[in-house]
């Protein structure tokens, strides 16, 4: 979501207001990578959101996305990656508490 310190906004030539925010842009990008199957990039961005914008709605979405990616790794037999991913999210959550 937009916040003055994190995001930007402007009046465009049509007199309309356009806005977006850093966490939303990150989330959007992460989701595009996720959709394209480029999971390492997606994870990196999801983690960045959790780390830098923990109290946003984007963080809620990122947490769900990382959880589902971890489950995919687990289902594919890649349990170590899944566990390390969950651990990483837990550490970030504890740091932000």
């Amino acid at each position: 979501m937009l916040s003055a310190s994190q995001g930007w906004q402007f009046w465009n030539s049509m007199g309309d207001i356009t806005s977006t925010s850093d966490p939303f842009k990150l989330l959007n990008l992460a989701n595009e990578f996720d959709r394209a199957g480029v999971l390492t990039y997606a994870i990196e961005l999801y983690i960045k959101i959790l780390d830098q914008y923990p109290d946003t709605l984007e963080a809620v979405a990122a947490r769900l996305a990382v959880f589902l990616i971890a489950k995919r790794y687990e289902n594919e037999g890649n349990k170590e990656t899944a566990i390390s991913l969950v651990r990483k999210v837990t550490v970030i959550a504890n740091e932000n508490c």
Binding site: L2, S5, N31
Partner: protein, 250 residues
């Protein structure tokens, strides 16, 4: 003579069976070339809308699904009586459409997914984020514009952010479940809380995998509620020109 139709199947073989578990429903296959329409005789009571009749209909369709691909199309679906003399013209006029659809949905079943979120909470969250910082900045810049800005925020920006956020949540859910589907249909934000109504066409061999994937959502973070319905005959994936399918999710 009125009859009840259960759909078109990918077989012209003779069927004359009493279906166990129903109130004595006997079904027959009316063949046309290499396909057939499965029917039963009807009396007034079988046309009534009741739980018993719905249950009987489902039992028959499930019975057929074990052996055949079932194409449930209007006017051939539940409670729609058909005149016996209309069957041949229906089969003749729609043969190639029936064949194409049977091929598309062969060995496939439909699952319906509903995802519910707390729309008000999401909107509050978005509004709070804006008010906290952006409003303060605008106030210092031009106090006269506040009312107008507030209206723009409420009517456009907040709504847009709400929809954008809905799209992201939907994409996250679909990234996980969509990989099992050969086709899918979405209805987004049908109401404030109903984030997604999705239909997935799944190969029968992958349905267990799909159900297991869905079970993951029971413990997923994110405060969303998920419900899954199915496997069902692929009512919503039938595409026949001039014939209405059960629901429109396109």
């Amino acid at each position: 003579m009125k009859i009840v139709s259960y759909g078109v199947i990918d077989s012209s073989e003779k069927i004359d069976s009493l279906i166990t578990g129903t109130k004595g429903i006997r079904i027959y296959n009316i063949p046309y070339r290499d396909i057939g329409m499965v029917i039963s005789g009807s009396d007034r009571s079988s046309m009534k809308i009741s739980n018993d009749n719905a249950s009987d209909y489902n039992i028959v369709v499930e019975h057929l699904m074990k052996k055949f691909t079932v194409l449930p199309v209007l006017p051939l679906r539940f409670r729609t009586p058909v005149n016996k003399k209309d069957i041949l013209p229906i089969m003749e006029n729609n043969y190639y459409d029936f064949k194409d659809n049977l091929k598309r949905i062969r060995h496939k079943v439909e699952f319906g997914l509903k995802v519910v979120w707390k729309g008000d909470e999401v909107k509050d969250w978005i509004t709070r984020e804006y008010k906290r910082d952006a409003y303060g900045k605008l106030k210092a810049y031009d106090p006269r514009g506040i009312k107008f800005i507030e209206d723009v925020f409420d009517k456009y920006v907040i709504e847009k952010e709400f929809k954008d956020m809905a799209d992201i949540f939907i994409a996250i859910v679909d990234n996980f479940l969509g990989r099992f589907a050969s086709e899918k249909r979405f209805e987004k934000l049908k109401s404030k809380n109903l984030l997604l109504k999705a239909l997935y066409l799944i190969d029968k061999k992958r349905q267990q995998e799909f159900k297991e994937a869905f079970d993951v959502f029971r413990i997923a973070p994110g405060n969303l509620d998920y419900t899954l319905r199915g496997p069902l005959p692929p009512f919503n994936f039938v595409e026949i020109e001039g014939m209405e399918t059960q629901r429109s999710y396109k």
